[in-house]
Symmetry: C2
Subunit: 223 residues, 2 copies
Amino acid sequence: MRMHTHQEFEAELRNLKDRLLAMGGRCEQMIGLAVRAFEERDEGLANEVMEADRRMNEDELAVDELAVRILALRQPVGRDLRFAVAAVKASTDLERIGDEAVNIAERAIEMQPADRLSPPGSKLSEMARRAGAMLRDALNALVEEDPRLARDVFSQDDAVDRIYGEVMKLCLEYMKDDPDRIPGGMRICNCAKYLERIADHATNIAEMVIFTVEGRDVRHGRA
Amino acid sequence: MRMHTHQEFEAELRNLKDRLLAMGGRCEQMIGLAVRAFEERDEGLANEVMEADRRMNEDELAVDELAVRILALRQPVGRDLRFAVAAVKASTDLERIGDEAVNIAERAIEMQPADRLSPPGSKLSEMARRAGAMLRDALNALVEEDPRLARDVFSQDDAVDRIYGEVMKLCLEYMKDDPDRIPGGMRICNCAKYLERIADHATNIAEMVIFTVEGRDVRHGRA
């Protein structure tokens, strides 16, 4: 009987992990679509991002429900308890990544070809690629409970922050040269900020991995 | 014996609520300081914001530890379980409000008097005042488990979003009139965005109140 309950518990944890991975997969897809909407100025792709975001919201609720159910019925301790807490925190980050992808898709549609081909605009795809990779690593680290992979995400975040700083600088120069470029330049700045935030959310998830596995918190003062 | 345990549990819940209120109080203070740093271009005040943020980070860990402790040792059900889950989500929002206050303080120091007195710049104090009020209401709603007050926060958020839209419009005009204003205009845009995000975090906390009290989730599709 006990074995049976244990197996059920394992199945529920597995289910929770699968849900988180599915949310992460959807996020990655949304980031990819948003950036393609941006590169190809494709309103249809942008609309796909909005559509996917509705499913993200349901996913967040489903993850939280599963985690609360595990907390209530299984009353886990130690690492399993910390994982359930990490899951409800991670679902928030994933849902907000979806919101950022929607923001990118909205700005993408407003952009003009000249903005897109400008020096700052051309850096956005690289930022998106890196943010997507960070998210994938952070979620794999979470479900595989792999702190080494989580720590790798931290250094990837530093690289994204650096590129973000470069884009801001390029944007200022781009706009100063011609005031008509201001609305476009602002949209590029905003997209860069959204991507930088996606990378931050991925980093938050990676920090929860260390908390889950090592039982200590590196969220503030990683050293 | 049972009574004793129950009293301990109540004391722990009270402690968790007090911690959340203390975090919220610190957030409000940080927002106020950041906006004064902005109005008076006072680097000392900006530094106080950074200093307060370090204590915020410790507060987040303390809240999470308390909540995890309650989940592990008291194994609450129903509303108390949902409150503990809401607390770990709210601590994240509060900590990120602190980060936004730091962002405002950083931009404040860089601003020039002309930016501050410009039409878009002069709207920031109002946004800050409203965001601070939303946060206070959201946290009171959380610790008093008052869904009516939580719903009031939702409508306050709509007002902040409207002012944010106005500031963006004013910023574009302000920058177009003179390219030398672009760096200052960008800083105002950024500050407005930080304040709008603080209001969003307060709204997230208010949504968790409905989840805690009514057991249903209004995070997506409030109607």
